[in-house]
Amino acid sequence: MKPRRFDWHARAIRVGFVLALLLFWYYLGRSGAVSAIFLPQLPRVAEKFVQILQSASFYNNLAVTLFELIVAVAIASLFGLTIGYLVGRSRYAVLVFEPLLAGIFAVPIIVFLPVFMLFFGIDIESKIAFGATYAFFPIVLNTIGGISQVDPRFITVSRSMGANEQQLFRRVLLPAALPVIVTGLRIGATIGFLAILGSEMIAGLRGLGSRVANLAEGMNTAEMFAYIVFVIILAGMLNLTLSTMQSRFAGPRNAS
């Protein structure tokens, strides 16, 4: 690789762009050219942001959304890893099930949201079920991919050296498939989070998504902006955590 030179110009343009955008927002708000309902003033949003960080309702909503996410990812992982492992072990099962699952996943699952509402109501159960369904597919597909792509020679060799099923799993299959599986878990958690936010916004009683939707309906734009900023930061943190996790599991393999 060629040595990376620090690209001052490009970086300056990037920072300048963001600063210009913020300045533009600030002066547009001050000039009064745009109604505060459409674009709240920058200082007001900052003020609201500090306020919501001190309010109890904010932490309740945050806790609800995080709880939904954790339960949904746990359910999706349980089913996704188990089914993925069982299917991935048999070449024939892969041929039967993999296209079926990939085909279902090609349909945007969002169209089934009304069905989830019908079965599970509009409280957190439907959000968990919807998030878990969305998260399930990348997890199961990557697990099938990871397990079935383990070089069959490795399996034959370890069998011939007398490895039992448990040893085979722990010493051969798991290490070989882990990077792919962890990628699936990461994608699953990310889109599960988006699915939960989306379903909360469309119809929900609690959680960050429904809070944003409520504020939008009440034309309380400044507070809505503050919530949106927070959710974006939260998503960024989630992303960072997951990619750190992923590089810890997949790192040594990628390096070799």
Partner: protein, 270 residues
Amino acid sequence: MSDAVISGARIEAEAGARAFLHRNPAVARLGLVVLALALWELAGHTVLDPNFLSPPSAIVAAMPRVLGDPGVRSALVATFVELVTAFVLAVALGLAIGLVVGLSGFARRATLPLVLLLYSIPQVTILPLFVLYFGICAGSKIAFGVSHGIFPIILNVVAGVQSVEQAHLTAARSMGASRLLTIRRVVIPHTMPSLFTGLRLAMSATLLGVLLAELYVSTGGVGYYTRIFADSFDPPATFTLVAVLALMAVVLNEAVRIAERRASFWRTHR
């Protein structure tokens, strides 16, 4: 003796069937789907509460009633038009932005991180802003679809442009091609495979964006009907609506896949 012959024949037939399924996993797959539908049908007549889940036969029977409603029909047609419009706009804008960003190394270094930053924002949270700015009609849904679909196009076009070999550009220039001609004859053909990957991703993203917005706005369109059907405990109607939307998604996804295969056959038959 004859018993043994019969059971022998049965075993042979069973083995034959198993071998047949083994050679044709697609048949086994189809069998699973049919089995699932049959179980659903059976459960619908026995254990399921008809207020929540009706058997497939009831859904099929309800289809003419639901789709006969002119309001439902126009909502579904509107959704389809929004999907196509949003996709076309996303492709046109994404291609233009992608070429501009990709063609200059400086523009790429300066703006690509911004594009990636915007792409990493969970867009569902800014859905209310789209409704605020574009209203509750088709505008907000198309805009939200475009904002989802445009990123895969931009990123894939940029990647495609970057993959053009420097030697080809030098050759074109040395043979006297103008910048525009170079773009048309060298850069764009090189970008095609990557662009089509982008088209496929953009289609699923556009579907997500438009359908999210459709469901979010519950005062009109598909979102209104899903709410009405849920409130009036009319599951066959909900399922009909969902089935038509899913069919739309499958058709549009397939259309892009077929276009991709058509456009890229020369790569494999060269």
